[in-house]
Symmetry: C2
Subunit: 164 residues, 2 copies
């Protein structure tokens, strides 16, 4: 096993030794969904106060609602959640490049076959943080897949202070 | 604000009061990525031993590698990660339905415009857990977007015991 895999196994032993939540149900107890970034500086459970079993947590590069739509539909239509909190954050990597930059890096590092596999993939960068939150909320509000009875809100988390 | 939004704000105040990690860098310190499910019963940081700042955490319905490919490419090609741990789990909701079931529920609940918006969206359910992990690993191994120098591993997390 790699060092990283060893870390998972050894740290998990400590976690499992005092674990007493094996009875929790599949459906989130508090019926909500958090969509946020994959960024390493965010611990959603701790920072946003999500107790185990309470909420779905969807994470991707940038906390993109568009990228998350499959998971959001499953969360609200199949698994009963009623509210979505969208949380983007300061210092996001998605603010630092454009689609053509990302495609250029893939081409340089991995060559033509990789670019071909990308097809028309949108990396979904966004040039400005508040605007990114607003755009994603507008997308969800306009989507027929997110009915009006789903409560939506948008947030900016500061990785420097840990505050929303 | 909704009760859920109030919860985020009040719990975050406690978190922020003792927060001392505002100096962490954008690039994950331990250069790895965890892909896992949005399931409410999983707390990746605690269960998998991920310290703040160490790893990207991507989460979606089922912990799908296919659904996560945009984020995985950004993680390894733009943000320097070198290893991906794919973690699916027992009792996953994605084991309980097929694409046609999900489409039927969307149609029943939200009508024709929502189904039209779905287009050919694949909900990416999988009928069997170990097979789901193997399929996703095979997808990543076969992808030109994931070069051979990226270490890959697949895991099953037991939500009943918290063990991998």
């Amino acid at each position: 096993m790699s060092t990283i895999q060893d870390n998972l196994v050894s740290k998990n032993k400590q976690y499992a030794a005092s674990f007493d939540k094996g009875h929790l149900a599949l459906l989130p107890a508090k019926k909500y969904t958090v969509v946020t970034c994959m960024d390493a500086r965010i611990d959603p459970a701790a920072a946003f106060g999500i107790d185990l079993g309470d909420a779905h947590v969807i994470r991707n590069a940038g906390g993109s609602a568009r990228d998350a739509i499959r998971s959001i539909v499953i969360s609200e239509q199949l698994l009963g959640t009623k509210e979505v909190l969208l949380v983007k954050h300061t210092g996001c990597g998605m603010l630092t490049f454009k689609n053509e930059d990302a495609r250029g890096i893939v081409h340089k590092n991995l060559g033509d076959p990789a670019v071909k596999e990308l097809g028309d993939l949108d990396f979904l960068p966004f040039p400005e943080l508040e605007g990114g939150v607003k755009d994603d909320l507008a997308y969800l509000r306009g989507s027929k897949l997110v009915p009006d009875n789903i409560t939506l809100s948008g947030w900016v988390y500061e990785v420097e202070t840990s505050k929303p």
